[in-house]
């Protein structure tokens, strides 16, 4: 679409310190092309991402929220990412009921050695958000 050429999605990414953040770092060091629309917020564990952070990001202008954590079984804190998994499943249903497309929230397991996966998944997510268009929340 013509107007979407102008649209640069704002994507907020909550990345776990031990896996995905290091993975993103590796993507950069390896000179891989990842999405420039991503604003990274480093958290100690993907289980630290409270559902209100996701909603607050949308409220403050994010068009998509990306959560990156360690693969299941690899969590630095044993089971933080299991909690993330349950929360994200819950949040998707929650967003849908609010009339926000649940595809705007994405969870990916990316380990510290998967720089290529980080690059590919953020580009994929950016393309998806471009297709969905900007998110305009209505308050009144």
């Amino acid at each position: 679409m013509e107007q979407n050429k102008e649209f640069n999605p704002k994507i907020v990414a909550f990345l776990c310190n031990w896996c995905t953040y290091t993975g993103a770092d590796l993507a950069g060091v390896s000179r891989l092309k990842s999405s420039p629309c991503v604003r990274i917020i480093r958290v100690m564990c993907s289980g630290r991402v409270d559902p209100s952070f996701v909603v607050k990001a949308f409220k403050q202008g994010a068009d998509g929220v990306f959560i990156g954590g360690c693969h299941i079984g690899d969590c630095h804190y044993s089971e933080g990412n299991y909690k993330t998994l349950r929360r994200v499943e819950f949040m998707k249903l929650f967003l849908e009921e609010f009339g926000i497309d649940p595809r705007r929230l994405r969870l990916e397991w990316i380990s510290a050695s998967e720089g290529d996966k980080y690059a590919a998944k953020t580009l994929e997510f950016e393309a998806e958000i471009r297709e969905l268009g900007p998110l305009h929340l209505v308050e009144a």
Binding site: F94, G99, A140
Partner: protein, 329 residues
């Protein structure tokens, strides 16, 4: 001269007024200490009496009810100007409460149902919509305009204090009123602006006498499906209880009656959104690590959004369900 007291109901059920009268003999102290200048539920006052007052003439205004119509908003602005201290009294004024469940729909959908599709309408009155202005032989009459979205009091005017609860518990109202009288009589300093009065600063679970074993659950039950154990945590038994995401202060009224907390005291301190807090709390008790199974367990919750935001829809981060014709889908 006695300090002046005003009470107003905007979009509310009248339960807050009953709760105020429910302080029993203490109401005599109130009537004795204050000069009641405005209380439409109890006595006949006219808006023009308030309009004629000087700004800041009313010492204390307890405002209950959400902002739903142009009349509600007008009175909110009028009482704000005329009152020294404006208190959002009760859940509706503070966070939207039951009237704000209308934020799941829009004005058109609500009016269409009530005046066109409702099965209780008589055939000849179907499709007759109220107009803001109607010309009658005697002249033009006007009714307030219905807003698309229900708002809280502090989304319309500046609010000094909040008293949560649906309705605020009588023993809490007594402590608030005694504190107010003490402040006015003895010149005590006012609490900081924005303070939540008549409530605790922990969660409902803190007051709950039930035993929490931190069990994981495979299915959520509706209250009619099981007979809950009276001593065990209701959430542990798979019954929806808003306790973990609700402010304390009611003395765990509902859970003591064997029913899950409804969440009427609003989010606990430092929580910006009650519903997402509940998502977080429930995600910890769901007993599964398989996405498909997790989805199926979540589906056993009846009306999650309406349950989590039963009282705080208008003050939640998103505030209303997004319109379908927007490009959010």
């Amino acid at each position: 001269m006695k300090p002046k007291l005003a009470l107003y109901w905007a979009s509310s059920c009248g339960g807050c007024e009953i709760a105020v009268v429910d302080i029993e003999l203490k109401i005599l102290d109130v009537a004795d200490f204050f000069d009641i200048v405005f209380w439409p539920c109890l006595m006949d006052f006219k808006y023009k009496d308030i309009e004629a007052m000087q700004d800041g003439d009313i010492t204390l205004c307890l405002f209950n009810g959400a902002i739903r119509t142009s009349e509600n908003e007008y009175l909110a602005k009028l009482l704000r100007a005329k009152s020294k201290v404006l208190v959002a009294f009760g859940s509706c004024a503070m966070e939207g409460c039951i009237p704000a469940l209308a934020n799941f729909y829009d004005k058109k959908a609500i009016l269409d149902f009530v005046y066109r599709d409702s099965p209780s309408l008589q055939e000849d009155s179907k499709g007759v919509y109220p107009e803001t202005k109607t010309v009658m032989p005697e002249g033009e009459i006007e009714i307030p305009e219905f807003w698309n979205t229900v708002k809280t009091l502090d989304q319309v005017v500046d609010v000094d204090y909040y008293v949560p609860g649906c309705p605020p518990q009588s023993f809490q109202i007594i402590t608030v009123i005694e504190a107010v009288i003490d402040i006015l009589k003895n010149g005590k300093p006012l609490p900081p602006k924005g303070t939540i009065l008549g409530a605790g600063d922990k969660t409902c679970c803190d007051e709950c006498p039930r035993e929490r074993k931190e069990k994981k659950i495979k299915k959520f039950y509706r209250p009619q499906e099981i007979i809950p154990d009276p001593n065990e945590c209701l959430l542990d038994q798979g019954l929806m209880c808003m306790g973990p995401a609700t402010r304390s202060g009611c003395d765990a009224l509902c859970v003591k009656a064997n029913i899950g907390c409804r969440g009427c005291y609003g989010p606990p301190p430092n929580v910006m959104d009650q519903g997402t807090k509940m998502v977080s709390a429930l995600s910890s008790v769901i007993d599964s690590t398989d996405p498909e199974e997790i989805r199926n367990i979540i589906k056993t919750i009846a009306d999650p959004l309406g349950t989590f935001y039963r009282f705080s829809m208008a003050s939640s981060l998103i505030r209303r369900v997004q319109p379908k014709n927007g490009n959010n889908k």
